[in-house]
Symmetry: C2
Subunit: 349 residues, 2 copies
DNA sequence: TTGAAAGCGCTAACAG
DNA sequence: CTGTTAGCGCTTTCAA
């Protein structure tokens, strides 16, 4: 059995209360007494039972992380940020995966409640609004990446519109004038937001993105490969393509190569996600918008800690993206591309 | 404040002890009393405090998951399996990422000890032997994927040698006779084991894999792309390549295309990892060895539960791989490829 | 069938 | 400066 504070007290020849104070640096006592207590604890390998402590303190220093639909490619970076933010307050993370199942989700909420978590982070694979996780929960909740449908909740997500802007700006700075967009299903809020951002950035330059140059499809290489050909057949003047994610961009790069078009000289390419594994392996390497998920995680963690402290900040906040410049759309000279100062400490998969 | 069992007792008009028994279905009591207690608990939204309960029961129904070097591509599937296995015992997962830092690791071990976890799973990105996580820990530990250097510990990992065998068998069944191997750095145990498996399977057919046809390099597309060319220049008779992972295989596929060699007609290709996102997008789609990480996770979870129950099973156990057959090395007719019956419920990133 | 009391490991208010 | 006492929420003998 692990030693308890009573063992420490007995061996150190003091009362339990004194042992407690000694170990926690509270109260006043003779330095030698404290030293003796601490030393005894060390000798016996004493680890105070946090569960017991939380009984009186009311705080468990534990927060739940509920993912609604599995661990995706985005989860690791986010998780890293969350963990770093929480570790500032020595909070631990309790992991739950609801797997798109409302019953499972309810079950996990109950389990977390029974464990008296100090707070909860809810995450999901899409930025779309999702139903809130429950009502009148006995702890604060922060939605990460996914956004709660209830504006009274606190959500922190990515500014996809800004991402779209960045992508297009990179293309126009490189010199592209006739830009197309290959992207995912318009049912995704992220897809719609990126289109809006792209259009806004083009408008600033007096350019446009007509519907004829926007293609929606699955988020796959196949999609990029197939549609880049159709696009260029219909409109051979296209000189830049903003792709909705890196897989599409990779497919487009391969498709352009098959057509004999050079990247970026004939057609420049910008992807989205900055999924290094894919982006850096593409020939040429893909410039790509980075959602800064590590930072998102940090902000989410900090926001939750603030909520636990009672500082409430309801509503949706959207964090800006940055762009990783690579050969598929190099920086124009003398122009500083926006690039995250806080690069992820956690490399992506 | 959340209602306590005292509130239930008071409202239901019984003693705390009776309330406890009533809620837990223990002891004997008049059915109507029990019903009243349960109903009261429901009405007040009572959630028994598990931390308080664990004080007396000694079990926290919480296990730690310590990853030694970040969440990789392999983590999600493994995690899913672990979670499923543990949820059978309603255990929760406490997540920690040591980030290759011994101090961090020690810190997390202490934190988990203070939380009185019932057990610990240690995982890492490589199958290589790694130093054990600590000695005389007050809970059982199971190493997952990574293997503890101490044979007295319990480790569950992948049978890479078997994976190598499967890959080569797929190639020879398709008809390949002159096989080469493009793989990662030989410093990885996985790399060495796969080579050994490949050689063993070839020997069974009276074939061999001379050193001249084995190329070690980084686990990257670049590597596959570059070296497939060199390999075929030196030895144009090669008709099958076993690649150490899917990235290398993808690079090799692209390289072969650039050389004008058809896959699989001229050269068949088998990858490793069955990373669907990559393998299915390659043209042609990649046949690939699957490590069944979801199942590994399940077995790890079950092993840990067994250890907690006192059933000790020290040593290293290695789970077999399976192979996902795709166009780059199709199945020969009438031959049943080995394919996992327990496909991952958790799709990969 | 029910309840009083003790105790799990720890903290905190109050005396000594 | 140190110890006694009470109590956090729950379980578990043991009496009534």
């Amino acid at each position: 059995m692990a030693p308890t504070i009573r063992d420490i007290a007995r061996v150190a020849g003091v009362s339990v209360a004194t042992a407690s104070k000694g170990l926690n640096g509270k109260g006043r006592m003779r330095p030698e007494t404290r030293e003796r207590i601490v030393q005894t604890a060390r000798d016996l390998g004493f680890r105070p039972n946090r569960n017991a402590r939380s009984l009186t303190s009311g705080r468990t220093y534990t927060v739940g992380l509920l993912t609604r639909n599995g661990y995706g490619r985005f989860t690791p970076a986010l998780l890293g940020g969350v963990e770093d933010a929480l570790s500032a307050d020595t909070c631990s993370l309790l992991l739950c995966d609801a797997r798109r199942d409302a019953v499972r989700e309810r079950h996990y909420i109950d389990a977390l409640t029974a464990r008296r978590v100090d707070g909860l982070i809810v995450t999901g694979r899409e930025t779309d609004q999702a139903p809130r996780v429950g009502r009148d929960l006995p702890f604060p909740v922060v939605y990460a990446y996914t956004v709660s449908a209830d504006p009274a909740d606190t959500s922190v997500t990515v500014d996809d519109e800004h991402g779209g802007r960045l992508a297009v700006r990179q293309l126009t700075r490189y010199g592209c004038r006739r830009i197309a967009h290959l992207t995912g299903p318009p049912s995704y809020a992220a897809v719609r937001d990126r289109v809006a951002g792209a259009r806004a950035a083009l408008a600033e330059e007096g350019l446009d993105l007509p519907d004829s140059r926007v293609v929606y499809g699955p988020f796959s290489e196949e999609m990029g490969f197939t549609h880049v050909r159709r696009l260029l057949e219909r409109d051979p003047e296209i000189d830049g393509i903003f792709c909705g994610n890196d897989q599409i961009a990779r497919g487009a790069a391969d498709g352009l190569a098959a057509l004999g078009r050079r990247v970026p000289d004939d057609v420049a390419l910008v992807g989205f996600d900055n999924w290094t594994l894919l982006a850096a392996s593409t020939r040429p390497a893909l410039a790509s918008v980075d959602m800064n998920l590590y930072r998102l995680g940090r902000v989410v963690g900090e926001t939750l800690l603030a909520s636990i402290d009672g500082t409430v900040s309801p509503g949706v906040s959207r964090l800006p993206c940055s762009i990783a410049v690579r050969a598929s759309c190099p920086a124009s000279t003398g122009d500083d591309p926006v690039w995250a100062s806080d690069a992820p400490l956690v490399p992506d998969a």
